[in-house]
Symmetry: C2
Subunit: 351 residues, 2 copies
């Protein structure tokens, strides 16, 4: 079966402020320091399986120039511009409709643009396995063997040790004690947010579980590549509910399975990711730039030319950029949105 | 009796790094933001009591240009240049010898250049009181009614409620619980490090309690204003013991008294001083520059033009300068010297 891919690249990367900015969010940055941005990695990883002309990007208009500059190999007509952010379900529903018009039936990979995957060969192997499972009509998600009781992820309960295995329960962002129990049980996987399904299966699931959304977006898909497409989308999109594919479809559907994956994966969801991605020193500090630490443990510091001296601190994140400096406790990294809201009135130039 | 003054201005202000630097330590900075430096304040405060030609400064050669620029009213010959730092006793011993040659007997005020005093009229009143006590031959220190159980200060035990009162015990930097008990007893004062004595009394005390030091420095005083002075001092000074006047004389002498003072005083000894000097917001944060805080309490932030965003932090000090950023816990502000030692090998340009 033909393989197509939708890469969702509309995120604003707020929790990586001040390195990630509204005008250039984290998927367009090289957080790993190797010069390749997260979205470039995401596309390159797919190329052994999917041709560039079958890879689509969903994003918003502000990022079209960045995409053209970073991904010249993608046909410009494969960029789907969302009029506004409405989470993943509307975006997937729109893309699936467009793909059906173009391909009839096909396997559809759905991937966020900003995830980090270490072992790319294992990733491709898992994708092939997932495609095979999808071809039987199931909705497949890549499940990651949890490396730690991370509280920021969703968890999938797998009824058996088979691969793929049926998913019997979703649990989103559990508290720490719960996460610990899930990890210890050996029966739960992290939900990677990377999905594989056939166009017919996902269309059927959307029509069943999100019928209003499906009905609203079907005319848009029908108008794809006509002058009516953009005006219709601009009219209808803001009125759509903001709903994730996990909540809207995956948690309701019966035919869900997961392919357990062994590659190291990170959603790079907050500054805490740096301690998972980067190399920590013997005190557990992850340091980038000209940084000196004394009596400090578990700190993540991202600097540039300026010397950053850290003294007597535990579990603090320090991010210095030319026009804004962030200093925050590690346990507050999920609250950066709250900080950005506080900055918006008088500091919008640094957002 | 004639009044003379020695201002000790050789300190390196290390604990105020990175604002205070070796080339321009804190006594030459306006930490209060009013444009007047600490040493300028120290001299100006004395002028109602002491003429400029009777005010001497002890410092090191590196600061001669700063002193000339900031204190043009002082005669250049009143600047005593120490060849190296040897704490307060050698400096006071040398100055007392020089003063005796010039003035015969006189009252001598000794003051650090970098203390902050709020109520200047009360300060002058206390000094007048101290001079009177000194004229009876006693060694007088200004004692400050303690505002809190500060662990970084020395404490004086006063036997009575008289003013001046005899000092029966010195206690240097007690642990917090002890400091609490001292403050609650009402019998202890902070040792301000501001002293008043006659030249005859302090000379007698130095000869009695630090005889080797006294003997080594007498020839230097005799050579004052001759070509032999500088070479002799350069030869002898490095071999002198580094000893404070508190340890070397005050804790041993019998004729010590304190004038209890009511003015608010701060030795500006570390970044913690800013919370005592500055105005805190309702969350106990002292903020200078373009700073936004969220979910943060008790933080001291000193920035410049760049936005500093602080999230989810308690009791942290953040000091941003163009070439160095310090982030440290409040309880580590006394350990900045340890940090500077770590910086010296590879970052001496920012010291």
């Amino acid at each position: 079966m033909k393989l197509t891919a939708l890469i969702m690249a509309g995120g604003r990367g707020e929790r990586f402020w001040p390195v990630s900015r509204e005008r250039c969010p984290k998927q367009f940055l090289s957080l790993t320091g190797d010069g390749e941005t997260l979205i470039q990695k995401t596309v390159r990883r797919l190329l052994p399986l999917v041709s560039p002309e079958d890879i689509y990007l969903a994003t918003n208009a502000a990022y079209l120039d960045l995409i053209a500059a970073q991904l010249p190999e993608l046909p410009p007509e494969n960029i789907l511009t969302e009029p506004c952010a409405r989470n993943t379900a509307p975006c997937i529903c729109l893309a699936a409709g467009i793909f059906r018009r173009k391909y009839g039936d096909a396997a559809m990979l759905v991937l966020p643009a900003d995830h980090l995957i270490r072992e790319e060969a294992l990733f491709l192997e898992s994708l092939r396995c997932a495609v095979k499972a999808a071809e039987t009509g199931r909705l497949v998600t890549l499940g990651i063997h949890p490396a730690c009781p991370e509280t920021g992820y969703g968890y999938l309960h797998c009824a058996s040790e088979e691969s793929p295995c049926n998913v019997t329960q979703f649990l989103e962002k559990p508290p720490f004690e719960t996460a610990q129990a899930l990890v210890e049980s050996g029966e739960w996987l992290w939900n990677s947010g990377i999905f594989v399904w056939t166009l017919s299966a996902v269309t059927e699931a959307l029509r069943l579980h999100l019928p209003a959304l499906y009905d609203a977006l079907s005319p848009a898909a029908d108008a794809w590549e006509t002058p009516d497409f953009a005006p219709y989308l601009a009219k209808i999109y803001p009125s759509l509910p903001s709903v994730s594919i996990d909540c809207g479809v995956m948690e309701k559907a019966e035919n869900i399975c997961a392919v357990p994956c062994r590659f190291r994966w990170d959603d790079v969801g907050s500054w805490r990711a740096i301690e998972r991605i980067g190399d920590a020193d013997t005190q557990g500090n992850c340091l980038q730039g000209d940084v000196v630490t004394v009596d400090s443990t578990g700190c993540t510091v991202s600097g540039q030319e300026k010397l950053i001296a850290v003294l007597g601190l535990q579990e603090v994140v320090i991010v210095d950029t030319p026009d804004a400096l962030l200093v925050c406790s590690k346990q507050s990294t999920q609250d950066i949105r709250k900080l950005l809201a506080a900055l918006r009135p008088h500091h919008c130039s640094v957002l």
